[in-house]
Symmetry: D4
Subunit: 251 residues, 8 copies
């Protein structure tokens, strides 16, 4: 929206060139966006410093290059998720300041250092090695949004000692992201040990009655521990984003 439309209208009223009744009428017929959503954008303004996010899956390499070029000219931090290695190679060739993280298939591009905006650490815990890509997507998302991230991988409930052995990490956390496939029990265990928000991420790891992550999803939704909420299957980005919102220092 261009404030000048409104300003001009008010100037005309002030100058007596426009009757109040006519001004009211015009206001009523201005495009909706021009009036009201300033305030929505006012909220959006709070988001400054947030990265631009691109979901790369299903987009062509040329399309992605175009998007990246457009964004790179305008914003400081870009996060591209679900980017195939072949495409990543082509993008990094054109944008040398971009960095590709093959495990999570994430590309990040920061034109300046990310400031620490958090109240504490975001601790990302994952169950099996095959859950790491999703966990890394969460970690990279939280990082580029200005958070200190600690990761603790390979802590399945069938080997609790690894988890219990790293409880010192727990004290630094403002929020936990807990990633697990198969039976999805890890968030319940973590939730029983800590008193901080736990964002549970089911993954599609598993086979048979895992039903593509459904088993883990249902388990997490039914957790007997308090302080847990769940995001979509394999949605590491969503968990990292939410963790960043929770950890953000008050403005």
């Amino acid at each position: 929206m261009d404030a000048s439309i409104l300003e001009q209208l008010l100037e005309e009223v002030r100058a007596g060139r426009l009757e109040v009744a006519e001004a009211l009428e015009r206001l009523r017929h201005l495009p909706y966006e021009d009036l009201g959503f300033a305030r929505v954008d006012h909220h959006r303004a709070l988001r400054q410093g947030f990265p631009e996010v691109v979901f790369a899956a299903g987009k062509g390499t040329d399309q992605l290059k175009g998007i990246l070029a457009a964004l790179a000219a305008r914003v400081h931090h870009i996060l591209m998720t679900r980017l195939a290695p072949e495409q990543a190679e082509a993008l990094v060739a054109d944008f040398p300041e971009a960095r590709y993280h093959p495990v999570s298939q994430v590309l990040t591009l920061s034109r300046e250092e990310v400031p620490d905006r958090g109240r504490g650490a975001v601790v990302v815990i994952s169950a099996g090695t095959t859950d790491i890509p999703v966990a890394e997507e969460a970690a990279l998302t939280a990082q580029i949004m200005g958070n200190r991230v600690e990761t603790l991988y390979d802590c399945g409930v069938a080997g609790l000692h690894r988890l219990l052995g790293h409880q010192h990490l727990f004290r630094q956390a403002t929020v936990f992201v807990v990633v697990a496939g198969m039976e999805g029990a890890l968030p319940s265990v973590v939730g029983g040990l800590v008193d901080r928000p736990v964002i549970a991420v089911p993954t599609s790891v598993g086979y048979g009655a895992a039903f593509g992550g459904l088993a883990a999803l249902l388990a997490m939704l039914n957790s007997c521990a308090n302080g847990i909420a769940v995001v979509n299957i394999d949605n590491g980005f969503g968990a990292g984003y939410l963790a960043a919102l929770i950890n953000r220092r008050d403005k």
Copy 2:
């Protein structure tokens, strides 16, 4: 919204008592609704003449009486759906102009005759006798919204001759509402015979693998006939409402 807030603001600008910059700032902080949603309501105005609709299920008799009293003072046509007979008795005792339709568990209250707003007839067809309550809910909804309604009940696909024997009705229809439980095949058959919109309503009639109407719902969504769309299971009201929108004479 009260237009006078805006008017007053403009008057102050005009009188030179308010700077344009300050007026802009105030505009930006007015409650959202006061500015923009006039136009939304402008659309809502088109709905004049529509009945007020009350979903009675889960509400107490006293609550319903209160709602009915409040509405009856303000609007001309009221439609109350899913109203249990015992509650209906109590309401009709207090509002003698109300009429209860026990088959569909619908109560209607019209303080004036409903004008015919339709381009043609809404034809409501149902499969089995147990589907009639949902069909009647659709028919009564369309009627109170100003439509001529023709009904054709007990036309299951296992007895096509009844359906085929009433094709003369088909020529009067602007839109069809087709209600069926069990295998939900009737909308496909009707859709193959007519060239008008068909609103399919699955019902929860059936047992076993009917899964509470899921079988009929899936069948209707997968119809091989063209011109069909589906509403929720047992949602006779929704089908009647949509039929009324489709049949409405252009303004």
Copy 3:
């Protein structure tokens, strides 16, 4: 059917060459179609001007060429949906008047201009960029069936301002087609703003608990807004077809 069979029979009765009893018997054994379905076809006759529709998925290129050749000799407007680009290339090489729309994978072939048969506009709204192919299939279907179509893409509920900023389009609409994947919330929002029929199209866009469009489908079936019905997942064609039926000027 060939009316001459019946005619001939009646002539023979008239000429006294055929007993009434025998004529009755013969009538009883004539192929069913020859007697009764004239009236069904009478309805079908109303569909004249409708395009012939071919669902290309799963058919070979040669088969499609044959179908296209046969239809092109007989009808004025052809709509071919779900046509792969490679096959489209081969078809367009043979039928230069055909036009392929790669985004929606639709091929259209019109041998004359499509007349405007509508009462107003069909407005097609979609949520995300990945929903556009389905939205375009709906738009092209409605267009070739004789409708003015307006499109409004990229209006997800997470960015309501785009939607609200184009409400002027809403006033021209006789019917809306609203296309969305993921949580499928857009039809509810549109349905709350307008008083026209809304055809909701869930798409298979999404991952994890989107379950191939099931999440969006269920959301749309349960919409709290009135005047909405739903077609199958990704069924842009079905929505466009139904929209055309709804928008058609009365005969």
Copy 4:
């Protein structure tokens, strides 16, 4: 089993070389199969003349050649289902008397003419063109089991006239096989027109909420017509086999 074991035992009893008590004991410890299942096989004997059936999916070409060679040396009729065209080519090269049916991906090999064992005809009806492969699998299965088969394809419920126009076929049928995907309504329609057993075959034809044939399956299980039973999705073979059992002339 080799009857001679038993025979020998009895001979020894008869010759007085084996005590009755000892014989009883030995009988008790003979391999189970050797005693009891003669009668099961007695039933199996009734099946003589039935073809040997091979489910080719997932088997290698060499494995299939071996199976075919072994069977061809022993039985008169072989039916191989779900055989890919490439594999079929290799098999037909080695077994020139085999015949491959590419539409249904069925291979048949008969070393003598199949006698007509039926009481009447098996009538196979299918809804859309994409259902034909499954319908053909059913037809070929019934044929090689000794049945006269009539087929009636492309009779979707959205075009009832084709179905109704071929009712003369219905009078010849002892049993119907009705094949349909999408909404699976055809068996209900056929079941309403005939008084013979109807075997309904849902197919995986469709997309979106067809859920791989689930919609059609549920519809068929919930048919409001009587005399219908359902086989697995795409199980043309199973339907043809059952139809043959039903149609078989009494022994």
Copy 5:
């Protein structure tokens, strides 16, 4: 339909009082049913001797009395399924010739002996004691339709010896109805022992992951034995009806 309409029309043509063209026109506009469905009813005529069937669930006692009175005046055999004991008592009080079968909640009323119309016996086998009501519904349905019925209850797969010990019954069967809940394995076992059609009836017997009969239903649809088809969960009537159609002596 009354054939006299057609007859009269032909007479008028013959008498020269009606032009052929006019007669054609009138034929075209006669109610559909009057022309074509004679042949459908011709098929229906084959059903003579079949009982009238009433699904009592959800109907009031007075309604059922009315239906019974109307039917009893017209047909020889009536079958009423899913009739609650209290209602049955009231009906039997009024119709002393009716007989109520409390286990299956079936009421039968025959005004003459049911002739044997079958080619052999219908053998009804059930797994557990809790499956007997459904099995009895099947048995009574087949009986009143003119079949000799043999029953074999309590033959779960966990106790095969009972089943195997009654194989002499198998030889008399033209068709089997096999009723089972829980894991639904019995039809596969029976199907492996016999060479006759097997109609499998899943029941809602079970708890937990039986999901109201879904487990048994899926098991039966996936049977590795040939010659099996499945009806809806708890649909004993449907199985008995189909068995009667299969067993019926050729006309």
Copy 6:
């Protein structure tokens, strides 16, 4: 089976009164059970000492009394599951030696002490207090089958310390029964701590997305710990029975 039939047949052969060929023929037509299933029962004999089990749900009080009377005359140990308290009262009044366990709704009746047949202890662990009835059903089943049972209740994964604090119990276990509803994570945790078989029992405890125990069931099937198998939802009896089989001292 009566061995005398066989014996008599052999005697006749021996005496020369029966030809071997004729004897063979007769053997072939003896009821199946009479020959072969001795060996099956031979296996059954191994089960001596096992209790008779009655599933009381859905049976009338009189029926249960009859069953109990019949069994009490014949066997030493009876286990009746899912017995409502009112019915239990009536049964205990008649059978004073019976004992009703109201938490698990189990009735046990032992006419002699149950000997210890186990190699070690069966340890039954449950998650929440609402899981105790199922856990108790398992414990009582194992007990009456001759096992020492240790129970450890209220050990949800959200409070691991209780579980870890009782590890001394673990060393006595031959087999574990782990009972949990909601997210069903407990078997995974136990399975990670022990090297003994774990029988996981999902319960229907929970609400919403617990879907009647489905969430717990899927979680347990997908456990990342080894040595776990799962029984049906709420099937405490099944788990106790299997535990008893596993723990049984070798014969």
Copy 7:
């Protein structure tokens, strides 16, 4: 655990009455809990001030009285959820300082004022009137955990203006709880307007294809807005608890 066991052991070591090797051995065999979980409790200590929570559903009135008495003697704040009105009456009679909230079926008992522990407000928004009980459960939970709570009810997506008209509330929020049944679209809309964490709570409000809250649950999991996570269906308590954790002032 009782520290004195350890203390005593150390004292004996110190006094030379216990060898180090022996002390090590004893330590190794002490109940697990006595050693290690101090630190877990250390975390638990952080939770001081948190209310004790009792899930009343399925518990008897006497049992609840006992629990309440025990807790009231020990803790300052008690929250009892899903408490039926009849039971509440009995409890309040005994504990006059308890307060029952009939809409949400929550009982709260605070022996001192709840301090404000939050960084800002928890804003609870709900869609329909039938969602209010769940929303209130969330609000009361957050309140008793020391949060300022603002509520905004009856803001369905079909009437966006109410929501948009209260955006001033949004600026005070640290975290949102958004409660909706049916299509569950509200969290997406809120999530698009704000840049704070949104906890989405699906409710079981709806019918037919709402499948007890599944439709809303799936929609929320697939939200196209960022910063959203989901709790179990109807789990207002869980959402309020998590919101309190998120809003808590840093320690």
Copy 8:
């Protein structure tokens, strides 16, 4: 953990250099793992002799080589499951003592003979030929864990005689693993014949309503035979592992 930390602490206490109170405090802050989980590992020690298990699916060949090299240096027995043939070839080239089992896609590597640790035999039974890979995975797992394994393949319920003919095997079994796809009925049949634990393994063999093994899974969970528990679909390894735990000779 290093016991020396504790030892050192105790030594200091003993030497009087450390106050008891201070020692208690230090103990409280030692890393959790260092104290308590010795006992967990104590249990793990019981597992000595167990093979190391690697789930190869989704791992690269180089990664697998690395894992294999690391393990081979340390343990005596390695089991690698779900290993593709191409990868197996590369591994066997480097580790000649490894043996690849192509049917089950299992690689085993034993540096010494596996001792017999079992009380009896593990009997693995499978239904169809396509179930053999899963059955072999179970058999190889049990073997390398020190069990005598007997296999009985191709024993579908539709051909019971093969199963019944090998009952002599049953007497040697301590535990059964029963593998079946499609309707999953075999475990019920086996469970009815034996009095030993039965581990049921559903496979994804089948099509259509088999739903990837769901039908078999549900059937097995609902088995009417006692003594059965179920593992995940296609989880031959899990079944073999559990069978080994059950069969293990008491320590």
